[in-house]
C-alpha cells in the first residue's frame, strides 16, 4: 500500500523534467563528459590495461621498409640517367615511397623502434633520417614539429599542423598545396615561429638542417635539369614530394583532426573516421585517436587496439560510429 502511494505521488509530481532539487543531485559531481571521477578513474585503468597489450611488437619491418625503399629510390637516379628506367613506374613507386616514408619516420619520431639508451636506438635514428629525405623534410624538424603537435594538439598558436585546418575535404586538399606557396603564411612560417618560441639548440639545428636539405634538393634538381635529365628529376623527386606532402597532410593532419577549433581534450582532439581509400591507403589514420592516446602503440596495431578500446572510447564520449 505504501509502495502504491509513493508510486502515485511520483506520477502526480509536477516537477518531473524540471531542474533537480538539491536532494535529487548526483552523489558525486559529474564532469562535462557526464562521468564522475571514480568512473573516469576506473575507465582509465581499464583503458591502460588494454593499451599495454598493444604497445611494442615487431618493429623490424619498419626498418626494412625504410632502408629498402630508400635504396630502391636512390637507385632510380643513376638508372634514369643511364636511360634504363621505366620512368612512369618509377614515378608511381617514388610517390609511394615519399608517402610511406612518413609512416616509418613517424614510428622513429616516437622512438618506437628504439628508445634512448636501448641497443636499437641507432636504428631508430637511422630509420628516421632516411625516411623523410624524399619529402625534403629532415628528421630533426619532423620530430620536433610532430611532438609539438602532440603536446598542443589543436591549439591555433602552438600546434604546428593547425594551418591544415579547412572547412571541407576539397578545401583541405587545396590548402595542402596553398600552404607550401612561397609568400603564404603557411606551414613553414608557422614552423619557424614555433621554433623561434622554443629557442632551443635542437630547434636551431632543425632549422639549419631544413635549409641544408632544401638547398641539396635544389642543387640535385638544377644539376639534373641542366644536364638533360629534368623530366627524370621531376618524376623521381619533385612531383613525388609534392604529391606525397599533400597526401600526408590530408590524411595525417586534416582528416583525423577536423574540425580543430575548440577541440583540445584528450578524447575530442582526434576523430575516428571511415576513409574512402581504406585503412592501409589512408596510412592507418582512421584509428589515429589510438595513436594520440598511446603513441607507443605502433601504426600497424592501432586498428586492433581501437576495436579493443572501442567500448571505453564510447563511454568517454568519442563518436565511434564510423568504425
Amino acid at each position: 500500500m505504501a509502495t502504491e502511494e509513493s508510486a502515485e505521488s511520483l506520477l502526480l509530481r509536477r516537477d518531473i523534467g524540471a531542474p533537480p532539487h538539491a536532494g535529487d543531485r548526483p552523489a558525486l559531481p559529474l564532469g562535462p563528459d557526464g562521468l564522475d571521477r571514480y568512473t573516469r578513474r576506473d575507465l582509465r585503468k581499464e583503458e591502460l590495461a588494454i593499451a599495454r597489450q598493444f604497445i611494442g611488437g615487431r618493429m623490424w619491418p619498419y626498418a626494412l621498409a625504410a632502408f629498402g625503399c630508400f635504396a630502391v629510390w636512390l637507385s632510380f637516379f643513376p638508372l634514369a640517367i643511364l636511360g634504363v628506367l621505366n620512368l612512369p613506374l618509377a614515378f608511381v613507386l617514388s610517390t609511394v615511397f615519399a608517402v610511406g616514408g612518413y609512416v616509418t619516420s613517424h614510428e622513429a619520431m616516437h622512438s618506437n623502434i628504439g628508445r634512448a639508451g636501448e641497443p636499437r636506438r641507432w636504428l631508430n635514428e637511422a630509420v628516421g633520417q632516411v625516411s623523410t629525405i624524399p619529402i625534403v623534410f629532415p628528421f630533426s624538424m619532423a620530430r620536433l614539429m610532430h611532438l609539438e603537435h602532440h603536446y598542443h594538439c589543436n591549439d591555433p598558436e602552438r600546434d604546428p599542423d593547425y594551418t591544415d585546418e579547412a572547412p571541407n575535404m576539397w578545401a583541405a586538399w587545396y590548402k595542402t598545396w596553398y600552404n607550401r606557396q612561397p609568400g603564404v603564411d603557411g606551414s613553414i612560417h608557422h614552423y619557424k615561429r614555433i621554433l623561434a618560441d622554443m629557442g632551443t639548440p635542437a630547434a636551431a639545428r632543425a632549422l639549419k638542417e631544413t635549409v641544408a636539405l632544401q638547398l641539396l634538393f635544389m642543387a640535385v634538381l638544377f644539376t639534373m635539369a641542366w644536364t638533360g635529365h629534368a623530366v627524370a628529376a621531376a618524376a623521381l623527386w619533385w612531383l613525388p614530394r609534392h604529391i606525397g606532402l599533400s597526401y600526408i597532410r590530408f590524411y595525417l593532419s586534416w582528416a583525423p583532426h577536423h574540425p580543430r577549433e575548440g577541440r583540445r581534450g584528450r578524447y575530442e582532439n582526434t576523430n575516428v573516421f571511415k576513409s574512402r581509400l581504406g585503412h592501409v591507403l589512408s596510412m592507418g589514420m582512421e584509428t589515429h585517436i589510438v595513436h594520440h592516446l598511446y603513441p607507443a602503440i605502433p601504426n600497424h596495431r592501432t586498428r586492433p587496439a581501437y576495436h579493443a578500446l572501442k567500448p571505453i572510447l564510447a563511454a568517454r564520449g568519442v563518436d565511434v560510429s564510423p568504425l
Binding site: Y178, Q181, P182, G183, V184, V211, M218, L221, F222, A225, W226, G228, A230, V231, A233, A234, W238
Partner: protein, 64 residues
C-alpha cells in the same frame, strides 16, 4: 653567411624558374617534337616561360 643565405632563399622561386622549370619545359618541348613560333630554341622558350613564371611567383608569393 646567414644574410647571403636569406637573400638567396628570398629569390628562390625565380631561381627555381630558371634553374629547373626552364630546362624542364625545354626538354618536354623537345621530347614532344613541338615546333616553336619564330624559330625560338626550346631552352630560350623555357627560360622565357620558366624565368617569367618564377619571377611572378617571387613577386606574388604564389605559383598559381
Amino acid at each position: 653567411m646567414s644574410g647571403a643565405l636569406q637573400k638567396l632563399l628570398a629569390i628562390m622561386p625565380f631561381l627555381f624558374g630558371i634553374g629547373f622549370i626552364a630546362p624542364l619545359i625545354a626538354q618536354v618541348v623537345q621530347a614532344w617534337g613541338m615546333k616553336l613560333p619564330g624559330g625560338i630554341s626550346p631552352i630560350a622558350f623555357g627560360l622565357l616561360l620558366g624565368g617569367g613564371w618564377g619571377l611572378i611567383a617571387n613577386v606574388r608569393g604564389r605559383w598559381l
